[in-house]
């Protein structure tokens, strides 16, 4: 799993690629936690390079969204691959996240 964070004026862009499973989910969670610790509560999660996400990764996304919303912000998704979108739909978690087709529109939403 590769993960990188870029700061924009009104939000943080977190790009994650590869597999998020129980082996890599702790690193994913740490990266999101690091953003929250800097009191940045508007987050764009770019999933364009994501091949797979397990419930461990989904848990980290839900936890992060909870904290963001508590502070008046939100975590949004960008460029969600079809297979990942299906998992979000299947679990009903799609209702918890606004999704954009690309990072430009996602970053621009803030």
């Amino acid at each position: 799993m590769d993960i990188s964070t870029t700061s924009y004026k009104r939000c943080e862009l977190v790009e994650v690629a590869g597999r998020i499973d129980s082996a890599s989910a702790p690193r994913f969670e740490e990266a999101l936690q690091e953003v929250l610790e800097r009191k940045r509560y508007n987050i764009v999660l770019d999933l364009s390079g994501l091949e797979y996400i397990s419930s461990a990764g989904l848990r980290a996304m839900v936890s992060t969204q909870k904290v963001c919303k508590e502070h008046g912000g939100q975590l949004v998704l960008a460029a969600v691959p079809k297979a990942i979108q299906e998992v979000l739909d299947l679990t009903g978690l799609d209702a918890l996240f606004t999704a954009y087709p690309d990072t430009v529109s996602a970053v621009g939403s803030f």
Binding site: D21, S22, Y52, K66, T91, L96
Partner: protein
């Protein structure tokens, strides 16, 4: 045609397991979407075994095997950890306000949603045996 794989109960084995299932899917002629579903269900099952049956990573074994029964693709996963009672796992409520969404319990829910049959059996000698079936259009 039957294949099997035995690995230690470590999260680093999950990628190896995913590749084993990918190979199985190719041999069984599964389409891409079906294979993705099976891989995810297997990943969730094995993660649960490591975390819950064995209480964390160790060199204890997880044994996976697969075979085809006509239109059915069958995966069997065996461990020798704590007996698992699926009825004790609450179904996560996802239709509630965000602050009430449980942060756990998704793994088993996902397995049941993605596979057509998910059955658990515990035996004193054989341990936990999980059987998952996916009907596969070919």
């Amino acid at each position: 045609m039957e294949r099997s794989l035995t690995v230690p109960a470590r999260f680093t084995e999950l990628a190896h397991i995913a590749e084993f299932i990918a190979q199985a899917g190719r041999e069984a002629g599964l389409d891409e979407r079906t294979l993705f579903h099976v891989q995810m269900a297997v990943d969730e099952a094995c993660s649960n075994i490591i975390e819950h049956a064995y209480g964390g990573e160790s060199d204890e074994r997880i044994r996976l095997s697969w075979h085809c029964e006509g239109e059915k693709f069958v995966v069997t996963i065996q461990d020798w950890g704590e007996p698992f009672d699926p009825s004790a796992v609450p179904v996560p409520r996802l239709d509630v306000p965000l602050e009430e969404v449980p942060v756990g319990g998704l793994g088993l829910y996902i397995m049941r949603k993605l596979m057509d049959e998910v059955t658990f059996h515990f035996d004193e000698v054989e341990g936990n045996i999980l059987r998952m079936v996916k009907r596969c259009p070919r």
